[in-house]
């Protein structure tokens, strides 16, 4: 992962944290990544009921109203498959029905681009959401871009979901539940120890240490480890 990629990710992550609401956050993501459009869509029910979904998108209003008028959500393969898939997917992967082709032609006529990438999201209580990027980038370039950014995009989607849950349900995340191993890794990182040293001390591979630190970092809502360490100290999860 090079620095430039991480900078774009970190600026998008921090922008979501600063955002007043999901509508503002998706614009920030769109700008950071230079994609055409960004959409966040939370289904209210786990299975089949998309009656009153929570949707925020940067698509032009004219397209959104046309989409609603024509009931396109019922045939949109990205939405229909996206809420039952679990793995992130490129839009070029979805099953094309005749009705979906009609939708696509209409979208093209409205100046929308056809390539996209969606991250299905599921949280601990089983709420499902879909975070999607839309682009006019060419097939190969887009595929190369999303394969390099898959891990970051997945993190951003989940961070956005957290913001949406707050916006819809007014739920604040409780003080994060940091596990014992995560705490040990944070405490050693706070002492300035390198991953390799932490791994030796805890008899783990360097990779597993990274996984614990990442898990702890996201529970603490931080885009990098030094920030997570600082927050853990402040919350008295660890002491220096």
């Amino acid at each position: 992962m090079n620095d430039k990629h991480h900078d774009v990710f970190a600026s998008a992550f921090e922008a979501i944290k600063r955002a007043r609401d999901v509508a503002q956050a998706i614009v920030a993501i769109k700008d950071a990544y230079g994609v055409d459009h960004v959409t966040y869509h939370m289904a209210h029910m786990i299975s089949g009921n998309y009656d009153q979904p929570f949707v925020r998108t940067t698509y032009p209003d004219s397209w959104v109203s046309r989409y609603l008028q024509h009931g396109y959500v019922k045939v949109d393969p990205v939405v229909q498959e996206g809420f039952v898939r679990q793995l992130p997917f490129e839009w070029r992967e979805v099953t094309m029905t005749d009705a979906a082709l009609v939708l696509m032609q209409d979208a093209l006529a409205h100046g929308l681009a056809m390539n996209g990438y969606s991250v299905p999201i599921v949280d601990k209580v089983g709420r499902r959401a879909l975070f999607s990027l839309n682009t006019s980038m060419a097939d190969e370039d887009w595929t190369a871009f999303v394969s390099g950014e898959a891990e970051h995009l997945s993190e951003l989607g989940h961070r956005l979901h957290r913001l949406a849950v707050f916006e819809v349900y007014g739920e604040h995340d409780p003080v994060p539940r940091i596990g014992p191993r995560e705490r040990e890794c944070l405490a050693l990182a706070a002492q300035g120890k390198e991953y390799t040293v932490i791994a030796q001390l805890l008899d783990l591979s360097e990779h597993t240490v990274r996984a614990y630190l990442k898990s702890a970092r996201l529970k603490l809502d931080c885009s990098n480890i030094p920030q997570a360490v600082g927050k853990a100290v402040k919350l008295r999860i660890i002491s220096l």
Partner: protein, 221 residues
């Protein structure tokens, strides 16, 4: 070949899903005698109702199953979190996008022996793991958490994988059950390919349409 079957495609490949459930019944309920309740000749549980990903090893005509495992994101409800939280606290606390759990990994020894007599069970588990590594890499997953029988750790290591045992518990079946973390990276992938002398991709990504052609077609029209 190895494919990832997701909920939108279960119905299309129902026979494969059913073969996998039946294999799980024979392996986990009958052979290993894990604490699982069969449904007729199948083993299915609550987590199968949540639309998990099944990574399946099947013949190229998709008629015969050779093995499979169940993948779920640790951001959502997972078996290891719910069931093993007390016995595997170190594994259960790992929860982040990019960290997934793999459970119910098994191979169909009889089908393999018949169609691929050259692949012994140890190698079969190694190949499953290599395919898992490829599937995970294609989707931004960097760590897999999985439970396994103790003797499989050596099998995995021989296959070039890096496994950290995070916990071990008795009382789930004939033998203890281990829980470990598996590194997913290009480096590990290369190691596994070298260790098993495999030089072609095992996991088959779903085919992609050509969006550019559709765009151009529309402009022309």
């Amino acid at each position: 070949m190895f494919i990832a079957l997701q909920a939108h495609n279960y119905a299309k490949h129902l026979h494969l899903v059913q073969q996998y459930y039946r294999l799980r019944k024979r392996v986990f309920c009958d052979l290993l005698q894990w604490d699982c309740t069969p449904t007729g000749d199948e083993e299915r549980d609550y987590y199968d109702t949540l639309g998990p990903v099944y990574l399946l090893w099947c013949s190229s005509d998709m008629a015969v199953l050779y093995g499979g495992m169940r993948l779920m994101p640790t951001t959502g409800p997972t078996l290891l979190y719910d069931v093993f939280r007390r016995t595997f606290p170190n594994a259960a606390e790992l929860s982040a996008p990019g960290i997934w759990e793999g459970t119910r990994m098994c191979i169909h020894e009889a089908n393999l022996k018949r169609d691929h007599p050259d692949i012994e069970p140890g190698r079969a588990f190694g190949l499953m793991l290599l395919a898992l590594c490829e599937c995970a890499m294609a989707h931004g997953i960097h760590t897999m958490i999985s439970n396994y029988e103790p003797h499989l750790k050596r099998v995995y290591q021989r296959a070039g994988a890096v496994v950290d045992e995070l916990g071990r518990a008795d009382g789930y079946g004939n033998r203890p059950v281990c829980c470990g973390s598996f590194d997913v990276s290009a480096e590990i992938h290369a190691r596994m390919q070298a260790a098993m002398e495999v030089d072609i991709p095992l996991y088959r990504r779903p085919p992609l349409h050509n969006a550019e052609v559709m765009n151009k077609h529309n402009i022309a029209a």
